[in-house]
């Protein structure tokens, strides 16, 4: 099965000049956890998902892949009192533009890319994996963990029927 059959075609996307606050509202409104960032021609320029936002809320250097210290599971449940951490970080984050926070060179797939490759990209790089046209970067759909679930179930049914 190619990614083209497993993708969602009604894509919720954001522009580079939209803020994190606006994108957060889109996440809530459409019950999604990630979206592609596109230019005025609907070409892919980046990706932003909920995990990226949560990482931005983490204090430095918790999310950094620093030499040796990356094996330390830095526990943050050690502070009592003072202005709440998450609120402080969120205040700084909400006004930032997508162009400043998005993943700038995202991984993507084409409609003809196999589903197993799509799943591999999902596992390795997170949701969503944007599907673009082969000869341009125009967005045609997204493969997300949500879109995959339905197709995995239908695959399972057809395998069982075949057996």
């Amino acid at each position: 099965m190619p990614c083209g059959d497993a993708m969602i075609t009604e894509v919720i996307s954001a522009r580079s000049d939209q803020t994190v606050a606006e994108v957060l509202a889109l996440f809530e409104e459409h019950n999604i956890r990630g979206l592609p960032v596109v230019d005025k021609d609907n070409n892919l320029v980046g990706v932003y998902n909920f995990k990226h936002m949560l990482m931005d809320l983490m204090p430095f250097p918790v999310d950094e892949k620093l030499k040796r210290i990356h094996i330390l599971d830095m526990n943050l449940d050690h502070i009592a009192g003072g202005k709440p951490w998450v609120e402080r970080q969120l205040t700084k984050l909400l006004d930032k533009k997508m162009s400043d926070v998005m993943i700038k060179e995202p991984h993507y797939a084409h409609e003809s890319t196999s589903l197993r490759e799509g799943i591999r990209l999902l596992v390795k790089y997170g949701s969503p994996i944007v599907v673009v046209k082969k000869d341009s970067m125009e967005v045609v759909g997204v493969v997300s963990s949500q879109s995959i679930v339905k197709d995995l179930r239908s695959l399972n049914v057809s395998v069982n029927k075949g057996a």
């Binding site: 040796r68 330390l72 502070i79 003072g82």
Partner: protein, 456 residues
């Protein structure tokens, strides 16, 4: 092919093998020192230099693969590798984090006390672990604490780098150059500490006083009121306390290693073996992934390159020019070596400089020159000189990089330690500690000249 192995030290003549080996040495070192410019990793440069030295040595008859293997100081390589493994087992227990947060809680917003205690913790660990490792562990924790207190972490990070560089000079195992010097000159742990401990202690105190003065404004601000709970995140209490026990036993064994006829690496290796059994849940693959193979390979290749110039007698030849000066006034030679080593260490890198100086000193010693105090001058110079610039030691580079990333994340350029800031706030500390060390060397010169071994 001409073999030059039988040349008498007194009849050294500039010849082709010397020239070839000198060119390879200079080009390799230049490549290492200019890493920031050409962006080729120093280990890759050292690998190429070592390969060329072995091949050239075989062609011109002064070196070969067997001699190259003999040139490697495995004591240094094994000790570093074992300590890296021990640290990789200790870090995930959360013990270092617990110490840092306990210090933050205990200091209760008294910022100079926070600086002093964090600096002391970093120094104590630097005595046993190399100072780079200590700074890599505590640096991010310091940033986290300062963010919680809503204060600029620069004073505390700079203090960590300066105090670990200074403190690491005190022991045989505190810094890679010390390991190299101790191994080459056969200096045991106790002798090293007895000679270096006093001067390092005074220099350390001076550093702390200087930092209090330099960061007077930053240490006077009122931080946010926070309470840190130190116990809740010791993820593996039993492994942490057991590993502290192993470190304690290792300190005792380091003190006894000469009596036991063990090289220092044996103690570190035994510690590592113990840790693998203490930390039962640890996977060897995960731990050994943290051993910095590029750094160990760097040392290996450096020894091979320097071995080549040793066997060509080039460094001995250099030594013949320095020898009259050393014979004439040993004290002045020590002071000059200390300051030259410090500036070389600040400007470029202390490890290659130490590697090159060792054969020169050994060559002079073979010629009957008393060089004992020169070892101490070299150790002090390369150790404390690292504080001179932001590139002077790997610990400094790490701290600067950490602050740059923090500044980028927070969108606040004031959070980054710039090279200019280091010159203004770090370099004076280097000059101060070196000046103090010069005075101490001058006053206690006879003590530093005492034989290294009882039989001498």
């Amino acid at each position: 092919m001409v073999s030059v192995e039988a040349v008498s030290p007194h009849n050294l003549v500039w010849d082709t093998p010397m020239m070839v080996s000198a060119i390879i040495l200079v080009v390799t070192f230049a490549g290492i020192f200019t890493e920031e410019i050409h962006k080729i990793h120093r280990t890759k440069v050292a690998l190429l230099g070592a390969a060329v030295m072995v091949i050239a040595g075989q062609i011109f008859g002064f070196y070969n693969p067997d001699l190259a293997i003999e040139s490697i100081d495995w004591n240094v390589v094994f000790l570093l590798g074992a300590m890296m493994t021990i640290i990789a087992i200790m870090i995930p227990t959360g013990g270092f984090q617990a110490i840092a947060y306990w210090i933050a809680d205990f200091s209760k917003g008294r910022l100079f006390l926070l600086l002093l205690m964090l600096g002391t913790a970093v120094t104590v660990f630097s005595l046993l672990l190399d100072n780079v490792t200590t700074v890599i562990i505590f640096g991010p924790l310091i940033v986290l604490i300062c963010q919680a207190l809503n204060i600029n972490p620069i004073p505390y990070l700079l203090a960590a780098a300066l105090l670990s560089d200074t403190g690491g000079v005190a022991t045989l195992v505190g810094d890679p150059p010390n390991l190299m010097i101790g191994s080459a000159a056969d200096i045991d742990f106790n002798t090293f500490f007895l000679r270096m401990g006093g001067v390092v202690f005074v220099a350390w105190i001076a550093t702390v006083v200087a930092l209090k003065f330099i960061f007077k404004k930053e240490l006077a601000i009122k931080p946010e009121k926070m309470k840190f709970t130190g116990e809740t995140f010791l993820q593996d209490k039993s492994t942490w306390y057991a590993s502290l026990g192993v470190l304690g036993v290792m300190v005792v064994l380091f003190m006894l290693h000469n009596t036991l006829h063990w090289d220092a690496w044996v103690v570190a290796a035994l510690g590592m073996v113990s840790m693998f059994y203490i930390a039962k849940s640890v996977h060897m693959d995960d731990v050994l992934k943290e051993v910095e193979l590029p750094l160990l390979m760097f040392f290996l290749c450096l020894f091979v390159v320097v071995g080549g110039v040793e066997h060509s007698h080039f460094l001995e030849y250099i030594g013949t020019f320095i020898e009259p000066f050393v014979r004439d006034d040993l004290l002045m030679a020590c002071i000059v070596l200390m300051w030259v080593a410090a500036f070389m260490s600040a400007a470029i890198d202390n490890i290659p400089f130490t590697a090159a100086m060792i054969p020169i000193l050994l060559g002079m010693e073979a010629d009957g020159v008393i060089i004992t105090p020169l070892w101490w001058a070299l150790a002090i110079g390369v150790g404390m000189g690292g504080n001179g610039t932001h590139l002077g030691s790997t610990a400094n580079v790490f701290i600067v990089t950490l602050t740059e990333r923090l500044a980028r994340k927070e969108g606040n350029p004031d959070l980054a330690i710039t090279p200019g800031m280091w010159i203004r706030k770090g370099s004076p500390v280097m000059l101060l500690t070196l000046s103090i060390s010069t005075v101490i060397m001058w006053v206690f010169f006879e003590y530093f000249s005492l034989p290294l071994h009882a039989a001498e």
